[in-house]
Structures are given as C-alpha cells and as structure tokens.
C-alpha cells in the first residue's frame, strides 16, 4: 500500500513539483499528467471525479487529485490502495504547505520550491507517510522566512541550520524547549451549517459541523484541561491526537498537552440526533429566509428573489446566493436592492448575488432576467447560499474553564466564536 508519487500542477497544467517515482518508467508521471489534463478539459463545468482510472500499457492505475488554491495536486497510485489514505495524506500535505508558505499558490511554490522538495522528502518516504507532525517537521525543515534568507545571504550558515537536536521531544506532536514571554492560547470555535431546504421552505436535513481551532503559544510542556458548560450539544466528536480519549469518554472534558502553534483541537457535529432525523421540527433553524420565484421561458427566464434575516441578535455577513443557470446560459441582467452586488460568471455559468450585511427587518431583493441558448433553459434546481455570522454559534457550546498543570506561569486564554453556512435552497 503506497503512493507512487506526488505531482503539483500549475494552472496551465504543467508540473512544477514532481517527487521521485517508485516506478522506473519515466513515462508514468507524464501519462498521469496528460490523462488528468485531458479529463479536466472534457469535464463539464470543471466537475471531475476525484479518482480517475488510467489504463496504461504497464497495467491499470489511478490518479487521485485535489486542488489547492490555483494549483492541482496529483497522486498517482497503482495497485490496490485505499484512496482515502491518499486523500488524507494530501490534505495533511496541504495543511503543512500552508503552514510553511502562508498562501499556497503558483508563485509561493515557485519561490520556495526547495522547501517544498525538502518537505516532500521528509513527509513521503518511498510512498509511505513518514513525518507529518508539523512540530516535528519544523525541527528538520526550516520554514522560509526573511531572517533565514538574510542569514543565508550573509553567509552565516551555521545559524540557519535546523535544530541541532531533532526528535528530542518525547511527545511526537510537540517540540521540546518552547519558550514564550507571554503565555497565551486561543480557541476559535468555528461552526459550519450544512442544510437542505425544499421547495416549500421546510428544512430536510441540517447539521452544524464545528471545529475548535487552537493557537497555542505556551512555554514548556503545559498539561491543559478544557471543560465545557454544555458538552451534550457536541456529537460525533473527533480529536487531535494529543487529546486523552479516555478522559473525554469519562467526563467530557479535554485533557491534552497541546502542540505548539496552530492546530485543530477537535471537531464535532451539532444537529438532530440519529433517532430524530426524520422529525422536521428538530432540525436546526436556518438564520435567513429566501423566497424565490423563477419563470422559465424558451431561451431564458426571469426571477425575483428576496432574502430576509431571521436572527435578531447579529447581522449576517457575506451572504452569497448562487444559481447555476445551466448549459448554454449566455447572460443575465438584474437589479439588486440596497447596494448589493450581483454578477454573472460566463465561465462557470453562475449567477451570483452578494450581500455584504443583512440585518433583521430589512428585505433584500434581486429581480432580473437571463438568457440562454438552450431551449428551454435549464437552470439548476437549487440555490446555493453561503454566509458568515461572526460571534455566533449554532450549537451554543460554551467553554467553561481551562486548567493548566505541569507549568508554573500565568496563561491567557481567548475564546472566539464564528459561524458559516452552506445551504441548498430548492425552488
């Protein structure tokens, strides 16, 4: 069970990074790059199966791919490997890359290609994941920084060496000898509401997917216990490997020695419990209401949408309503109320209506028409609506307290909530 190698393609479809391949044939990676570009060109509106079957003269293989910014990451595999393993590795790799480079893009990869190669070398040994913990990696591959650059230019090479004692920490996810003047730890509770609303406005399925993103800046080896006031709202939890699972099973508090820097502490679901899924009254409430009316004609159609907020305490920000206008859509012409903006993207054939902020009581409308070369026009059967609500939580989970043991210093903790949503609204 091994990954054959990893290729990073720039938007033009040319490779910029290619690992060594386990197979000896130099054609193999090229075959995959060509097959991928070919499939991408043929796929309607860029929707491509994440696993592509490739028949080569050396036997069948498959290309697992994902995207990251404007780049495409390809993982060719031959032999029977679990694609989930491949995608889990790819997402870990992307996380590490963004940790090292900030924004992952063609230009940042080009600029730091040597770092990317070094990372790949440490993370993937002959197709098997090797070191993927970020704290351990930063000991052996230096993150690019201006300081390192200056040091290397001035020729002080001794200083720019990676830690002299890599792997000295007994805890795989935390590096040894961390020191901060101010000891602080931040918790971002981010919840993402995924729901489907049917034509009559009834919620068919709804779940809020939460994650607690932490940024730990604590010295030494602190042993923390984080407890919640209402842990029962959290279901189907999963944890960073630093969390002591037995303790969570016992009293629903998180006991852990955190990694240094950013990490995702836990993930959870909040929503109707398994037994009550069928009961529509137990679904989560959608924080806004959309009333769409669409008329389809021979070569196009007209529509009239209005959106109102349903929550009183906070404004909904960055509400974006999208509708795919279907194959052959050519243009749209709309009138948006209240300074909202709209646009039609001829490449994705999608109409996009953006509302930067809506509050309760205000009604926002979008009226307009669109044209299409298809007859009759076939727009998508549903709107996709995404939004942000800062300082809000669907689950209402509350952090009770944080206890610190093992170190003798004052710790500042910060807790912040944020909610996003991705709703399908059928019409």
């Amino acid at each position: 069970m091994a990954i054959d190698g990893l290729i990073i393609l720039e938007p033009s479809g040319r490779p910029i990074i290619q690992t060594n391949f386990r197979t000896t044939s130099p054609v193999y990676p090229l075959l995959h790059i060509d097959a991928f570009n070919d499939a991408l060109a043929k796929s309607p509106n860029g929707q491509l199966d994440p696993v592509i079957y490739i028949s080569g003269h050396q036997g069948p293989s498959a290309c697992c791919h994902t995207e990251c910014g404007d780049l495409k990451l390809l993982c060719p595999v031959s032999g029977d490997i679990d694609p989930l393993y491949v995608f889990a590795f790819l997402s870990t790799f992307v996380d590490v890359l963004s940790d090292y480079l900030g924004e992952v893009s063609t230009s940042s990869i080009r600029e730091h290609f040597d770092v990317v190669y070094q990372l790949l070398e440490e993370m993937l040994d002959d197709g098997h994941p090797l070191t993927t913990e970020r704290n351990a990696l930063s000991d052996i591959v230096l993150p690019p920084s201006l300081l390192n650059k200056i040091l290397s230019v001035t020729g002080v090479s001794g200083l720019s060496k990676a830690s002299a004692t890599p792997f000295s920490s007994p805890i795989p996810w935390r590096k040894a000898g961390v020191r901060y003047n101010n000891n602080e730890i931040y918790f971002d509770v981010v919840e993402d509401l995924r729901a489907i609303v049917n034509k009559s406005g009834t919620v068919l399925s709804s779940n809020a997917w939460g994650r607690i993103e932490s940024n730990s800046r604590l010295s030494g080896t602190p042993d923390l216990v984080l407890s919640f006031l209402n842990p029962t709202v959290l279901q189907d939890c999963s944890f960073h490997s630093c969390v002591r699972l037995q303790r969570w099973i016992r009293d629903k508090s998180l006991s852990f020695v955190p990694p240094d820097g950013r990490f995702v502490l836990m993930e959870y679901r909040h929503g109707p419990s398994s037994s009550t899924t069928l009961d529509s009254t137990r679904q989560l409430t959608i924080p806004f209401a959309l009333s769409p009316s669409i008329t389809i004609q021979e070569h196009g159609g007209s529509f009239d949408l209005s959106v109102t907020s349903r929550i009183s305490s906070k404004p909904i920000e960055q509400l974006v309503v999208e509708l795919y206008l279907g194959e052959g859509a050519t243009s749209a012409n709309c009138l948006a109320s209240g300074g909202a903006s709209w646009g039609f993207d001829p490449k994705t054939l999608t109409l996009r209506w953006e509302l930067s902020k809506i509050t309760q009581g205000s009604t926002n409308t979008l009226r307009g028409t669109f044209t299409s070369s298809a007859s009759p026009a076939r727009p998508s059967r549903a709107f996709r609506i995404t939004f942000d609500i800062p300082q809000h939580s669907f689950s209402g989970v509350k952090v009770d307290k944080l206890k610190v043991a093992g170190e003798n210093f004052k710790v500042f903790k910060g807790v912040r909530g944020r909610s996003t949503g991705d709703i399908e609204w059928r019409w």
């Binding site: 032999g79 029977d80 694609p83 040597d114 070094q118 890599p166 042993d223 303790r247 995702v264 807790v415």
Partner: protein, 792 residues
Amino acid sequence: MSSINLSAFTENASRLGARIQETLSERTRDLALTRSVASSYFDVPEDKVKNVRKQLDSSSDREKLDGIKTLIALISKGRDVSEFFPDVVKNVASQNLEIRKLVYIYLLRYAESEPDLALLSINSFQKDLTDSNPLIRAMALRVLSGIKVPLIGNIVVLAIKKCAADVSPYVRKAAALAMIKCYNMDPSHLSSLIPILSGLLKDKSPLAIGSVALAFQAICPTRLDLLHQNYRRLCRMLVDADEWGQVDLLDLLARYARTMLPKPERIDDMDQDMKLLLECAEPSFMSRNPSVVLAVTRLFHYLAPPSERHKYVDPLLRLLPRSKEIERIVLSYLVVLSHDSPSLFAPLHARFYVRATNIYSTKRDKIRILLNLATAENYQPLTREFMAYADDSDDRFVSDAIHALGRCARLVPQSMPDCVIALMSCISKNSSDAALSASVVVLKSLIQSKLPSRNSVASSTISPSHGTLEVIAKLAGKIEQIKHPSARACVLWLVGQYASSDGIQSNGIPGIVEWAPDVLRRTVKTFSSEAPIVKLQVITLATKLHLLAGEHDILSRLIRYTFSLARYDLNYDVRDRARMLGSLLTGIFPTAVNGSSERSGDAIGTEGVGGVVLRREQVMLVLFEGKQGVVETESWSDEHNLLGSLETVLGRSMGLDSARRLPDWLEEGTEPSLRDNEDDEINVSPFTPAAVRSMTAPGHFSNMTPVVLTPRTASPLGPAANQPGKGGWEDLDAFYGSESAESGSDEDDDDSEGEEDSEVEPNDSERREGIGEDGGDLDDNGYHLQEVDPGQ
C-alpha cells in the same frame, strides 16, 4: 588630550560607520539579487546552466546551494540533468544540511541511471550512519536504501540491521521502511531481513511500530506466526501510534485475527484476544484522520460480531462534509455498508440527500445508498427526493433518479402507486428529454414486471389512480414528444403488447383499444427517419395489431404500407424482421402482409411455398409471450464491494488480486497460549499515551512501576485446561479497568486537582465563557480573553 582622543574616536567611529554602511549595502544588494534569483530558478538562462558545474565546485556554500537549487528546478521542469551527477556527488558530505538534503534528492533521482558513480557516495553514507544526529543517521539509511543498485544489497542489509538497533525510534522507523525498499530491490535478502523484522516487532516505541507493521505486510505477509508473541502488545500500542501507523497496524492485526482467532459470533462469548483488539481499536473511531476511521470500520465490519457494527455509523458519516474528495470515497464504501446492513443507516437517510452542487459520482452513490435504505416506512420522503432530482441539470443524474423511482417501486411494493404517479408526472409536465425518456423506459419495465401476461390486463392495475391501460394510453398520446429512440421503442412495444381490448368497451376497431391504430399511423408517417430500434418496434406493433384486429380495411392497408416500407429499408435488421414477421402471419392472413409483394418475386412470402405454417394461437404465443423475463436494470454486484479498496471506488478491476481482501476465517482459532508473553504482563493502560505520562509530574512514575502478576504457566493441555488461563485474563482486564481509571484520574487529579480546588481564584470558576455573548473582555480580534492561573 581628551579632545584629541575624542577626535580620534569620532574619526574612527565615522570610519567604522562608513565601513558598516558599505558592507550593509553590499549585503543588501546581495539580498535583493538572491531574492530575485529565488523565484527565477525556474527561468534560468542557458548560460547559467553551464555555470552550475563551476558553482558546485566552488568553495562557498552559497554558490553550491545556488547550483544545486538550479538543478532541482530543472528537474522540476522535467529536464534530464544527469550529466551533472559527478559534480553533485562530490557534495554529498557537505557540512551544510540544506545542501546535503538537496544533494540527496538529486541522488535518489539519478542513482539508478548512474550506478557506478552512485557507488562513490556509499562510503560517505556509511560514515553518516554513525553520526550523532538521528536525522543524519536516518537520512543516510534512507538514501542508501533508495539507491536502487542491487550490487550494494548486502551493505544495505547491514545498515538496516545497525539502524534497527538504534536508540532513536525515528531511525528505527527509517530502518523498517528501508526493509521494504531493500526487499523490493532484491527479494533474495528475505532470509536476512526476517530476523531484523522480528526484532523490530518487539519495538516499544509507538512511533516506529506502524512502519514495522507496514514492512511486515510488504515483506512476509504470510509469516503471521511471528506475531503471536507480540499480538497483545501491538493491540495495546495501537492508540499511541501515529495516525498512519494506526492504519497499517490495524490492517495487520485484522489479518492476524482473521487467520489466528476464532470467528466471534456473539459479543458475550468472544475470544479474549479478539475482544482486546476491538476494545483497543474502538477509541480510534475518534481520530481526525479519515483513513484511520476507515481502518477501524473495516475491522468492525469484517471481524466484529454484527451487534457491534452500529459503532461505525456515526464516525463514518462524520467524514462526509470534510471535502468533496473524501465525501466521494466514503460514499462508495457506504454503498457497500448500507447494502450489508441497511437497518443501521435507514434512520439517517436524510444525511444522504443529494445537493445540486455535488459531483456526479457522489450523486450516483448517494442514490444507490438511498435505494439500499428504502423501506415501507421511509419511502415517501425518498420518492419525493428522487422527484426533486429529476429536475437536475445533469442528464445522467436525471436518468439515475428516475431509474431509482423504478427500483424503489420494485423493492418496496407499497411505494408502487407513489412511484407511478411520480413517473407519470415526469411525462406529463414539461420535463427534459432525459427525464421523459427515462420515465418511459422505467414505466415500461414496471408494467412488464407487474403484468407478465396480456391476459391480466383488465384485472390488474399498477396503481389505484392509474390503470395500466390509462398509463399506456397516456404514453401513447405523448409519442410525438418522446424523442429518445429507446423510449419511443418502449412506448410502441407497450402499445402493441397491451393493445388487446379483451373485456373493455372499445369504440374503434373491434379487438383492439381505440388509440392503438393511431399510434401506428403517426409513427409510420415518420418511419424513414426513425432509428432502427424504433422501426423494429413499428413493424412488431403492426403485426400485433393485425393479429388482434383481424382483417380491417383501413388498418390492413396501413399495415401493408408499413411492411412495404420495412422491406426496402436500408437497415438489414429491419428488412429481416419484416420478412420474419411477414412469414409468421402468412398462415393467418395469406394476402394481408405479402399481398403487395407478389410482384416483387419474394419467394418466402408467396403462396404455395412449403414449410411450417403457424396457427393463430401459436403466433399469439410467439409474439406476445416471447418476452417473459424482466431484466433488472441495476443489480448488486458482488465483485467490487471491499471496503478500503480502489476497485470499490472505481467500480472496476485494477487487474490484480486485491491484497486488501482479508483472508477467510479459520474453522477454529489457534491456541490462545501462543500469544502469552511474559513481557505483556508488565503493562500500561492502553489509553494513556506513554509519551505524555513520562512528561507529567514525577508522582506519576508510581503508576509506571511494573505490576507483575503471578505468571501463568502456558497450558499445553488444550481448551479445557485452558479455562483457568482465560479466567486469568479476565482478571487482568478487570485490573486494567481499575488501573486505567486510576491512572486517568491520577494524571490530572493527583498533582493538580487536589490543590486546584483550593487554589482556584474566585473569578476563575465564576467567569464562564460564552461565545458571542456580550459579557467578558473582547480583544481586537474578537477573542474573549481570560487569565488562567496555573494549577500549581
């Protein structure tokens, strides 16, 4: 005096200042230069490539780094730079770690094509194996084993042996991985690798153990007997291993358990070792890594008693919103699971509803899952969903959704009326071509399966509101809107098959329903432009009508016209079918069909020609009862249904006998005493990461003191005599239970909580944090800030 000194000092100072400025500006120029270079390694001009050799020979590390970076960038662009091999190899022992790493990357790429030169570097790697830095030792081994030159096989084996005994688990991990490379390069080293591997299996470090499991699977997957002594310890180490290690270890342990342990039938009389494995694996359901969750799911699905299967439902479903790639893969496994145990997933069907933005393979698999989950209780929301999907903008998916309605009607008989209404509404409303034709095809097969014989037409209906004939009549009326050839053919076939008006009042031609001849008239008009499949059905319809209605002036003429069109068609299938049907009818209507053909001299049709002539009843049988079996459009394939296999995801064979398939259970498991190991008795609780324990306060070491239970002598007397042994294990379990509870509480309570209770500051317990609540201090970033006092 002081003034002189002062002036000298100022002079010196200003000179120094100027000097510093000079150097600085030089450096910054350098800096600016290098920065622009960094991004332009990719666009190096040709002359610079030639310069690389000189750079690599230079004494300055910066020059060398620049040179090797240029080469790596060229490799990235797909250029062959093996000509620089000798120059690069020289730098293999560079003191600069960064240069060395890049040299390694280069070496691994070209070593195979330049084996002789690669051998030059071997010495330096062998020296590195004794370096004090574990990183360098591991790197040296990785490169050494990565140079695929069979000549050095023995050196690599020796290096592996040395590293397998290294103090650093990181190096031991590299040794395990190097074994795979060594074995793949030359399998003849197996005999020397196995002792190293069995040594590594005893490794106490959770960091290395996953790679050891991986090496085991790659090198000697059949030597499961080597695991006996380590099995229980490996189970307990599972939770501490890194996430990739957990996947490999779980796969190995699952194979071991399948081969060596008795199959568990019920939860209460499970083998103790099986129980241990499941208990140790269960916490990994809470891993953030999707492939770990799947590995545990595989274990529970293929090994645990069915009553334990519910445990994987929630963890698997939680993976779905992760990313569209993960959703796609997990869904293809859920198709398998929901087929095997639908009752587990049925209450959660709403989690599988399709979103318009899903990619096609995700949509397809969701429909398959929903169908697997369809029951008499939940068919109504499901059929409503399928109806909604019929409006999708992807034609493939529309057709899938409509076929799903048909499948649903067949799987859940109660849903038949709803499904037929839904299908009919697809036909009557302004649906897309895809929806229309799929509905027709599905309705046809539904009618066919419900009404196998035409004799039952009058008595049977497929839905209370829609009699079968009404459905067909409606379809017949739509014949001009139905464009898709196979759908048109279906309608024509239906009309012919059910055109008999037995027992029904008919205003038209006696013997057939009144709308049937009109369908023939309308399709004959466009006969020449129809697809062959439609033409075939037009002739068949004509024949059937003729048979049912007998001689009828207008109808006979219409039929004769049809046959003469068919006889001279361009398609030979159509011509052949016309001849065949024509001769079928000769016995009954000697002139009806072939009357016009007499002049053409067609030998078969003319009167007086010998051969078998069928009677009317026989012809009826041939024409109407010929197509008995209903073809299931989609049937469950047993072929690609393995969890965690690429074949399942792609739905096609990868041409290999899958190594992911687990072996079959043995009749009886092996002797549990084989797995007894005295080292095991000294134990730590399975749920406390060992690493963390050692980092907590010294007080904890009291827990670490080895607890030696009275050693049990392994019983050679067979299962009966083994009972006390099992009893012993139960005691041990109880002991772990109490120990883990104890150690768990010790960990946080012993040294912190006791004091904490008294030391907690009042505001600590009272200031509770609510997200988004207006109390508390908000900093600039919107964090609620709070000061936490240390517990000690």
